[in-house]
């Protein structure tokens, strides 16, 4: 039981121990005695009235029921009547309690059937949820397997990627080496060309400055043409 609930229960018991129990017995007893007193007072008043109405010659008190009956018996009779009334009331109370209990029982039965229906519905729900759960578990298993496959694929692809990258690096290095060599070749070629050009220039200068004509090398025909274009020939002039 929850702590707050047991606290309430304990506090109620404690409250009754302080407020109800010490007085209950005393008050009940007192109320019973008061009832008895009232009854006896009633009897006394009855007798008084009767005595006033029909006093005997000696002035002795007479019982209203029968002259032979003593006062004690009359009182006892009244008490018995009261007890009988109380018992009749008790029987009536118990009968109505019985009806109430029967009604409560019926209510409990209806509650039981309601809870049973609810339980069946909940069980069905639980069954559906269980099925869903197993389905999800299966899906999860499939997806885990798929994930594992994809992870291994990814791993191999990464390895391949690393190889390809390494290869790319090597190729790049090779390409750079190639380019460096090509640049060197071009530089050499350019240097040679420059040499040839200066040589051709010198030859041209010698050709145009001196009377003697020399045959031009066929490999340098372009340079000669350019030179001729840059420098207007004397023939045209």
């Amino acid at each position: 039981m929850e702590a707050w609930k047991s606290h309430v229960r304990a506090a109620l018991i404690h409250r009754d121990c302080l407020q109800k129990d010490p007085f209950s017995g005393l008050f009940t007893k007192m109320s019973r005695l008061e009832e008895m007193l009232n009854l006896q007072m009633g009897v006394w008043e009855d007798l008084e009235i009767d005595r006033i109405q029909s006093p005997n010659t000696n002035g002795v008190l007479q019982c209203p029921v029968e002259e032979k009956n003593p006062l004690k018996l009359y009182l006892q009779l009244k008490e018995e009547e009261q007890v009988r009334q109380k018992l009749a009331q008790k029987v009536s109370d118990l009968t109505s309690d019985l009806y109430l209990k029967e009604a409560e029982l019926q209510y409990c039965h209806s509650q039981v059937s309601r809870y049973r229906t609810e339980a069946v519905l909940l069980a069905r729900g639980a069954c559906c949820l269980k099925n869903d759960l197993s389905e999800y578990e299966y899906k999860l298993e499939c997806q885990s397997k798929q994930l594992a496959t994809l992870q291994s694929e990814q791993r191999s692809l990464r390895e391949e990627l690393a190889l390809v990258r390494q290869e790319k690096e090597e190729l790049l290095e090779r390409w750079l080496e190639e380019k460096r060599e090509e640049a060197e070749r071009i530089n050499k070629h350019n240097a040679a060309l420059e040499k040839w050009n200066s040589y051709a220039g010198r030859l041209n200068r010698r050709l145009y400055s001196g009377p003697r004509r020399q045959t031009r090398p066929t490999t340098n025909s372009r340079v000669i043409q350019r030179d001729s274009a840059d420098q207007p020939s004397t023939k045209q002039d």
Binding site: Q19, K20, F23, F27, D93, L100, E118
Partner: protein, 275 residues
């Protein structure tokens, strides 16, 4: 569940020993003896004091008798509050039996409602039950009941029949399982040191986040002064049916088990005794 039913029984059969004494200024033919009675906490003063009236009428002159009313230490006692509330509010920390003064003259019309017969008490009781059900079920349950069910509720209270009363009252305590409680909790908070008769506002048993509200939550919202901080000394007692429930008690459970027969949860906030 059996324990919960025990709580209902303990609440129903709660008693307060009382000693009724005639106001000394009342004119009597002979000296009036005090009258002792065990008062049911859940009932109303004027419903259970027929014997008291009969007792004192024996010594009073017929011409000196007006409507009977009660007073405790100068405070007129409102008959339309349950006896338990009156005791917890005015006399919970005093010695027992509870001394109540009985008057037959000078009825305080400004403080008390007149109560000529038990029909008035029945009308008051039924209207309070209907008000409570308006909070709990938009009056659907009480309106669906038959006249004889209403009568059974009243007769159960009048004749102190627990089973008779609860055979009907349990319908007023039902709610849809999925909602987790009533629409609103019918409660009234009484304070001795306040001019207001009581605090009564709509309060849901479950928060918007779906958590069950507790007595502490209710008090924090309605009467924060009653909830003391951890370090502070206790200033007030929060009393329901003569006990102090823990603040973590769910308010829905309290409403179902510690409500008075009028279906309201009557909460008394009184100053803590200085021992």
């Amino acid at each position: 569940m059996a324990d919960d039913k025990d709580v209902l029984r303990d609440v129903w059969f709660g008693r307060i020993p009382a000693c009724f004494m005639l106001y000394p200024d009342e004119v009597t033919e002979r000296e009036a003896e005090p009258f002792y009675l065990l008062l049911p906490r859940i009932s109303y003063l004027t419903l259970v004091t027929d014997k008291v009236k009969k007792h004192f009428l024996k010594v009073l002159k017929a011409e000196d008798v007006e409507e009977m009313w009660f007073e405790y230490e100068g405070t007129p006692l409102k008959w339309h509050y349950p006896i338990g509330v009156l005791f917890d509010l005015h006399a919970s920390n005093t010695a027992l039996p509870w001394s109540i003064t009985v008057h037959f003259k000078h009825f305080p019309d400004r403080d008390l409602l007149r109560c000529s017969s038990s029909v008035v008490i029945e009308a008051h009781f039924m209207s309070t039950v209907k008000e409570a059900d308006a909070f709990k079920h938009k009056s659907q349950v009480i309106n669906d009941m038959q006249k004889k069910d209403h009568k059974q509720l009243w007769m159960g209270l009048q004749n102190d029949k627990f089973d008779q009363f609860w055979a009907i009252n349990r319908k007023l305590m039902e709610y849809p399982t999925e909602e987790g409680g009533f629409r609103y909790i019918p409660f009234r908070i009484y304070q001795t040191l306040s001019d207001r008769p009581f605090i009564q506002k709509p309060f849901r048993p479950v928060s918007s986040e779906g958590h069950a509200h507790t007595l502490g939550d209710l008090l924090k919202e309605m009467c924060p002064a009653a909830v003391c901080q951890d370090d502070d000394p206790k200033k007030y007692q929060v009393v329901i049916h003569g006990i102090e429930p823990l603040f973590e008690t769910p308010i829905q459970w309290l409403s179902e088990h510690l409500s008075y027969p009028d279906n309201f949860l009557h909460i008394c906030i009184i100053p803590a005794p200085n021992d």
